[in-house]
Symmetry: C2
Subunit: 139 residues, 2 copies
DNA sequence: CTCCGTGCAAATAGTTTGCAACCAA
DNA sequence: TTGGTTGCAAACTATTTGCACGGAG
């Protein structure tokens, strides 16, 4: 873990008034240490933390991701019924989902041009627009 | 159950070469008996079948919805990580999702105008485009 | 008669929670 | 010190599955 990564992770937690505990710093570094946007599942992040030698229990990974989500540091993306994905990028943007691998990546937001959106029913407004482009291998 | 509803349900099952058992006919009638498009969860459909006096076990509701899905009679919509929705309308179209109630309804497909879609990575093509418009009550 | 379909209970997968020990402020 | 955090195991929810019985062709 480089000093810059640690610094970035600390700031990221501080933004949300979350105490920089060992576990949170470790997970934060895996998520935003290099400044890149990332999409993780709880299992995936848990595995990653073990891979770098940090020990964080699976329950804590779940609780921490939930805490990051509540704090507005990551957003939960629903693509697959069976698992939750968490995205470190916070704006509304489209995703590509690879059906065989389950991998989730960002799609170029600029390439998605929505010229018209269905009008919400009376008394409701759009809270969030989810666009998931499911991909299959070209035949 | 009107004769037309029964007829429609029979044809619907026949389309997919599924045997018209008592349970399947009952569920099919609840789904397409009136010719309307519908969005159900397994629990919801199970409750509905009990409401009309037909007894179908929850496991059978799950298995039957899965069978309908595999047969191309309904499509599974993922909006909520915690439960699966099944839609009797088979084309790609946008949905409104009410966050408080969990209700899922169709949005006018014609009102959604997509002028540009992100280009899939090499070797992949779009299998399905999911658009979920999450709604909140107007403040 | 032969298999597919059904129901029950048990298994499973992902996630959350209760509670005692622990640690950052 | 003290209240937030962690880890473990147990609880939970949605869904699937094994297996014996029952019904459709």
């Amino acid at each position: 873990m480089t000093p810059e990564a640690l610094e970035r992770s600390r700031n990221w937690l501080a933004q949300a008034d979350l105490r920089p505990t060992r576990q949170r710093l470790s997970l934060a570094t895996l998520l935003v240490g290099d400044g890149q946007d990332r999409h993780v599942t709880a299992e995936g992040l848990h595995a990653a933390s073990h891979r770098v030698g940090d020990k964080v229990s699976l329950a804590t990974v779940y609780n921490t991701l939930r805490a990051f989500c509540d704090a507005g540091l990551v957003q939960e993306i629903t693509v697959d019924g069976t698992r939750s994905y968490f995205d470190t990028r916070m704006d509304d943007h489209p995703h590509f989902h690879f059906e065989e691998t389950g991998e989730l990546i960002d799609a170029e937001a600029a390439q998605l041009k929505i010229a018209g959106l269905p009008t919400p029913p009376d008394g409701y407004e759009v809270a969030k627009l989810d666009v998931v482009i499911r991909l299959r291998k070209t035949s």
